[in-house]
C-alpha cells in the first residue's frame, strides 16, 4: 500500500500548538488524573490510539496505564455517558468525529494514476505534499480524541464514571463490550434527540427567564455557527488550492530553467525558488487559519449541540412533570392510585429541579469557556497570520532585490 502502517510519535505531532490547550482551556491541570494520547498507529482504515493515563486516584488499580483504543471505543464511551440518567443535567462533551482520511486518500489515488505523466522530481514533491496533508489530518484527529478524554477527566462527575475508568484501564480489546452495550441501548435515544429542536421550539411554556433566553440563544447560535464552520472550511480549501498552484508554478519554472542555457537560467531558478517558498508560507497561513478558526468553529458547533441536548433533556423532564400533574389530577378525580401518582409527580419534579439546577451551572460555565476559547484562538490565529505575512514580505523583498540586481 501507499502508506504502510505508520506509527506517529507525539514529537512529530506537536510542531503546532496543540489544539487541546486552545479549544478547551485548562484541561490538564489536575494532576490526580492526567490523560494524553502520545502516539497513534495508522493502518489503512483503522487508527489505533494509545491512551496514556497517570493517576493518583484510589479508585484506579494502578498509577499508570497505556491502552490501545479505536475510534469506535470513544463513541461507545460517549454513548454510554449520554444514556446515563445521572448525567442528564450535564453538558456531555461532544464525541470526536470519525477520522477522515478521504481527502488525502483520494489525492493519493490520483497521484498513483498520474505518476507516469510527471517527472521524478514532481512526483517526489507531490508525494511529500501528500504525506504532509495526511499528517495534518492525523494530528487533528488525535487532538480531538484527546480533548474528549480530557473534558471527561477534568469534570468532577464524569471523571468518576465507571465506564470511563474501564476505558482507561482495561488492557484488552473493548470490542466485545461495545457490541453488548449496543444491543442494550440500541441507539434509540439518538433518534429521539434528532427531533429535539422541535420539542424545544414548540415545547412547554418556559417559566424560567434564564432558560428561555438560553433556548433562544442556543437555537439561533447553533445554526449560525454550523454555517460559519462550513464556509470556513470552503475558504481554507481554496486557500490550500492557491498554495498548491504556487507549487506547480515552481515546478514549471524549474522545467523551463532546466532547458535554458543562457544567463536567464539563474533568474528562472530563483523565481522557482521564490514560488516554492511562497507556497510553504501560504500553506501555513491556510493551515493555521484552519486550526485556529475553522477547528474552533467545528468544535463549538458540536459543543453547542451538546448544550442543546441538555436543554432538550430538561424540556423532556418538564413535559414529564406536566404530564405527571395531569395524571395526578386524573387519579384524584377517579379516586384511584392517587399515592402512586403523587409519588410519580414528586419524582418528576425532583428530576426537573435537579436538571434545572445543574443545567444552569453547566450552561453558565459553558458561556465563559466559550468566550475564553474564542479569545485565545482568535488572538493566536491573528498573531500567526501576522507572522506568516511578515515572512512573506521579507521573502519577497529579498527576492525582488536579488532579481533586480541581476
Amino acid at each position: 500500500s501507499f502508506f504502510p502502517p505508520k506509527l506517529f510519535k507525539r514529537q512529530t505531532l506537536c510542531d503546532m500548538i496543540p489544539l487541546v490547550h486552545s479549544v478547551s482551556v485548562d484541561l490538564n491541570n489536575d494532576a490526580s488524573l492526567v490523560i494524553d494520547i502520545p502516539d497513534a498507529l495508522c493502518e489503512r482504515d483503522k487508527v489505533k490510539f494509545t491512551v496514556h493515563t497517570k493517576t493518583t486516584l484510589s479508585s484506579f488499580q494502578k498509577p499508570e496505564y497505556s491502552v490501545q483504543r479505536q475510534h469506535e471505543d470513544f463513541i461507545w464511551l460517549h454513548d454510554t455517558i449520554v444514556e446515563t440518567e445521572e448525567y442528564a443535567g450535564l453538558i456531555i462533551p461532544p464525541a470526536p468525529p470519525k477520522p477522515d482520511f478521504e481527502g488525502p486518500r483520494e489525492k493519493m489515488h490520483k497521484l498513483g494514476e498520474g505518476e507516469s505523466s510527471m517527472t521524478k522530481e514532481e512526483y517526489a514533491k507531490m508525494k511529500q505534499e501528500l504525506e504532509a496533508e495526511y499528517l495534518a489530518v492525523f494530528k487533528k484527529t488525535v487532538q480531538v480524541h484527546e480533548v474528549f478524554l480530557q473534558r471527561l477527566s477534568s469534570h468532577p462527575m464524569f471523571r468518576k464514571d465507571r465506564n470511563f475508568q474501564i476505558f482507561l484501564e482495561y488492557d484488552q480489546d473493548l470490542t466485545v463490550r461495545r457490541k453488548n452495550a449496543k444491543e442494550m441501548f440500541g441507539g434509540f435515544f439518538k433518534n429521539m434527540v434528532k427531533s429535539a429542536d422541535e420539542v424545544l421550539i414548540s415545547g412547554v411554556k418556559e417559566v424560567d427567564e434564564f432558560f428561555e433566553q438560553e433556548k433562544n440563544f442556543l437555537l439561533d447560535y447553533s445554526s449560525k455557527i454550523k454555517d460559519a464552520t462550513a464556509k470556513a472550511e470552503k475558504m481554507t480549501r481554496s486557500h490550500k488550492n492557491v498554495a498548491d498552484d504556487y507549487n506547480h508554478i515552481s515546478g514549471a519554472l524549474n522545467n523551463i530553467a532546466a532547458d535554458n542555457n543562457t544567463a536567464f537560467k539563474k533568474h528562472l531558478e530563483k523565481c522557482a525558488e521564490v514560488f516554492e517558498k511562497l507556497r510553504k508560507v501560504e500553506d501555513r497561513m491556510a493551515s493555521d487559519q484552519e486550526l485556529k478558526l475553522t477547528e474552533l468553529l467545528r468544535y463549538y458547533t458540536r459543543d453547542i449541540q451538546a448544550a442543546k441536548d441538555l436543554l432538550y433533556r430538561r424540556a423532556r423532564a418538564l413535559a414529564d412533570y406536566e404530564n405527571s400533574n395531569k395524571a395526578l389530577d386524573k387519579a384524584r378525580l377517579k379516586g384511584k392510585d392517587v399515592a402512586q401518582a403523587e409519588e410519580n409527580q414528586k419524582q418528576c419534579l425532583q428530576k426537573f429541579d435537579k436538571l434545572s439546577e445543574s443545567g444552569k451551572k453547566e450552561l453558565t460555565s459553558f458561556k465563559a469557556r466559550r468566550v475564553v476559547a474564542f479569545r485565545k484562538n482568535l488572538i493566536e490565529m491573528t498573531e500567526l497570520e501576522i507572522k506568516h505575512a511578515k515572512n512573506s514580505v521579507s521573502l519577497l523583498q529579498g527576492s525582488i532585490e536579488v532579481l533586480k540586481s541581476n
Binding site: 440563544f217 439561533d220 447560535y221 449560525k224 455557527i225 454555517d227 460559519a228 464556509k231 470556513a232 470552503k234 475558504m235 480549501r237 481554496s238 486557500h239 488550492n241 492557491v242 498548491d244 498552484d245 504556487y246 506547480h248 508554478i249 515546478g251 514549471a252 519554472l253 522545467n255 523551463i256 532547458d259 535554458n260 543562457t262 544567463a263 536567464f264 533568474h267 523565481c271 521564490v274 511562497l278 458561556k367 468566550v371 474564542f374 479569545r375 482568535l378 488572538i379 491573528t382 498573531e383 497570520e385 501576522i386 505575512a389 511578515k390 512573506s392 514580505v393 519577497l396 523583498q397 527576492s399 525582488i400 532579481l403 533586480k404 541581476n406
Partner: protein, 519 residues
C-alpha cells in the same frame, strides 16, 4: 470612464490636456497607501532601444536622404553570426526597409536589395530610409540602459461610441517619448479596434520575419461576453501589450505606418478590416502562430544552429504552455478564494450578531470586516495574477509560434532555391542534349533559359543568405527581448504580491487589539 470592473486603467492626471499628460510608469505604491485606492497600476512602459543619431540633419528629421550613417560592421558572409556585443540593433532595419511609398496600401514582399541599399545614394525622395548609425561601444551601452531615449505607450479610457449596431469601442492611445522622430513629446489619439487591426494588416506583410507584430487577440474571440467590464479590460490590456511589442521592435518603430498610428489625429478608416474584425479574421490571423510545424524540409547546412534552435523553440513553447496552465489555475483558485472569503465574512457577521457576549460579538463583526478586506486583496491579486503573469505567458506561447513561422519561411526560401537549382540543372542538361542532337536553332533558347535560371539561382542564393541572416538576428533579438520582458514582469508580479502581503499584515494588526479586547 467606462469599463467599470473596478479595475480602472491607470488614470491620466489631466485627461483634457494631452500635452501635459504624463504617464505613470511606477508600478506599485508603497506603504502609505490609504485603504481605498482602487487597484493596481499595472501600466508598463515600453522602452524601445534608443536611436542615437550621430549627425543631426538640418530639419531635425533624421529620416532624410542626406541622413547619416553607414554601418560598418555588417557582415554579409558570416551567416548572421554576431556575438551579442557586436549586434547592432538596427541592421535589421536595413533588411526590413519598406521600399514602398508610404501612402500605398499595398503589401510588398521584402526580399529585395537590402544591406547594399544603405550604400546607394540614388534614393527617391518619397522613400524613407532608417537612420543607420555608427555605434560606439559607449553608445551601445547607453542604449541598453535605455537612458537616452524613451518611448512609453499606454492604451486607456475605453469608451463606447454610438449605439446599436454601429456602436464601437474607442481607446485612447497615449505616447510619451523623447525620440526626435515624433512631433511632440507627449500626445494621444483615439483609436478603435479596427484601426489596430488595420495597423496590423499594413505592417504584417512588410515585416514578415519580425516577431512581435502579431495581433494576438485570440483570447478575445468567441464566447466571452463582449460587453462585460472584464472583457473590455482584457482587450484594452491586450491592445496595449500589442503596441508595446510593436514599438519595442526597432524595424517596426521605424515604420511610418506605426508612427502614423500613434501620432495622426484622424486615421483613414481601415475599410477592408471593418467587415473582417469579427472572429473569423482574428482566427485567421492567429492561425499562423498556432500552426503546428508541418514543414519537415531538412536544410543541408554545416552549421546546425537553425535545427537545434528550432528544437529549442518548440520545447520552450510546450514548457510555457504548462506554466501558463499552472498560472491559469492560480487565477481561478484565487477567484474562488475571493468568493469563499466574502461568503465566510457574511457568515461570521451573522454569528457575531447573535453572540450574547458583547465584546466577543464586536470582535466577530470586526473579523467579518477583516475577511471582507482580505477578499478585496485577493481580488486585486487575482487581477495581477492574470494581467501580469497569465497574459504574458499566453502571448509568449504564441510568439514562439511566430518564431517557428520565421523558420518555416526560411525553409520555403530554401526550397525555392533548391527548386531553382534543380531547374537550372535540367536546363543545362537540355542544352547538352541539344548540342548532342545538333539542333542549333533551339540552342539559343536553351542558352537564354540557362542564363535566366542562373541569375534566378544566384538571386535566390542571396535571398536565402539574407533571410538566414535576418532570422538569426531576429531570433536573438527576440530572445533578449523575451528575457527582459519576463524579468520585468516577474519582478512586477512579485511586487504585487509584496503589496498584498503588506496590506494583509496591516489588516491583521488592526484586528489584534479587537481580539485581545474580548472579555
Amino acid at each position: 470612464m467606462s469599463g467599470g470592473c473596478g479595475r480602472n486603467p491607470p488614470p491620466f492626471p489631466d485627461d483634457e490636456d494631452q500635452e501635459r499628460a504624463e504617464l505613470d510608469t511606477q508600478v506599485l505604491d508603497s506603504d502609505e497607501d490609504d485603504e481605498d485606492d482602487e487597484g493596481e497600476d499595472i501600466f508598463t512602459g515600453a522602452r524601445s532601444k534608443a536611436i542615437t543619431p550621430t549627425s543631426a540633419p538640418d530639419e531635425g528629421d533624421i529620416f532624410s536622404e542626406e541622413g547619416s550613417y553607414v554601418r560598418s560592421d555588417v557582415h554579409h558572409t558570416t551567416n548572421g553570426l554576431h556575438s551579442d556585443e557586436e549586434l547592432d540593433l538596427f541592421t535589421e532595419a536595413t533588411v526590413e526597409l519598406t521600399l514602398t511609398n508610404t501612402t500605398s496600401q499595398g503589401r510588398r514582399e521584402i526580399i529585395g536589395p537590402t544591406v547594399s541599399a544603405c550604400n546607394t545614394t540614388h534614393v527617391p525622395n518619397s522613400i524613407l530610409k532608417p537612420s543607420i548609425v555608427t555605434k560606439t561601444m559607449e553608445e551601445l551601452k547607453e542604449e541598453e540602459s535605455g537612458d537616452q531615449f524613451e518611448l512609453n505607450i499606454a492604451v486607456t479610457n475605453p469608451e463606447k461610441i454610438g449605439d446599436g449596431m454601429n456602436a464601437y469601442m474607442s481607446y485612447k492611445v497615449s505616447t510619451q517619448t523623447t525620440l526626435p522622430m515624433f512631433l511632440n513629446k507627449t500626445f494621444s489619439v483615439r483609436r478603435r479596434f479596427s484601426d489596430f487591426l488595420g495597423l496590423y494588416e499594413k505592417i504584417s506583410a512588410k515585416h514578415s520575419l519580425v516577431v512581435g507584430k502579431e495581433f494576438l487577440m485570440l483570447t478575445l474571440v468567441g464566447k466571452e461576453d463582449s460587453s462585460s467590464a472584464e472583457f473590455v479590460e482584457k482587450r484594452r490590456a491586450a491592445l496595449e501589450r500589442y503596441l508595446q511589442r510593436v514599438v519595442a521592435h526597432p524595424s517596426l518603430l521605424q515604420d511610418p505606418d506605426v508612427r502614423e498610428f500613434l501620432e495622426r489625429d484622424e486615421l483613414p478608416r481601415a475599410v477592408n478590416t471593418q467587415a473582417l474584425s469579427g472572429p473569423g479574421l482574428l482566427k485567421m490571423i492567429n492561425r499562423v502562430s498556432d500552426a503546428v510545424n508541418k514543414m519537415t524540409i531538412k536544410i543541408n547546412e554545416s552549421d546546425n544552429w537553425f535545427e537545434s534552435k528550432l528544437q529549442e523553440v518548440e520545447n520552450e513553447e510546450q514548457l510555457l504552455r504548462r506554466l501558463h496552465a499552472a498560472v491559469d489555475s492560480l487565477v481561478n483558485h484565487r477567484k474562488e478564494l475571493c468568493s469563499n472569503t466574502v461568503v465566510f465574512s457574511k457568515s461570521v457577521a451573522m454569528l457575531g450578531s447573535v453572540e450574547e457576549n458583547s465584546a466577543l460579538s464586536r470582535a466577530l463583526s470586526q473579523l467579518a470586516e477583516v475577511e471582507d478586506k482580505m477578499e478585496q486583496l485577493h481580488q486585486q491579486q487575482a487581477f495581477s495574477d492574470f494581467f501580469i503573469l497569465a497574459e504574458l505567458l499566453a502571448d509568449y506561447v504564441r510568439l514562439l509560434g511566430a518564431v517557428r513561422c520565421c523558420f518555416e519561411q526560411r525553409m520555403k526560401v530554401w526550397q525555392r532555391l533548391q527548386e531553382a537549382q534543380s531547374t537550372l540543372q535540367k536546363k543545362r542538361e537540355a542544352e547538352a542534349k541539344l548540342l548532342w542532337a545538333n539542333k542549333p536553332e533551339k540552342l539559343q533558347q536553351a542558352k537564354d533559359d540557362i542564363n535566366e535560371w542562373e541569375s534566378k539561382v544566384s538571386q535566390y542564393e542571396r535571398d536565402f543568405e539574407r533571410v538566414t541572416c535576418t532570422v538569426r538576428k531576429e531570433v536573438l533579438r527576440f530572445e533578449k527581448e523575451k528575457a527582459r520582458d519576463f524579468k520585468q514582469h516577474i519582478v512586477k508580479y512579485l511586487e504585487s504580491l509584496l503589496h498584498t502581503q503588506h496590506r494583509l499584515v496591516k489588516c491583521w494588526e488592526a484586528f489584534l487589539p479587537e481580539a485581545k479586547a474580548i472579555a
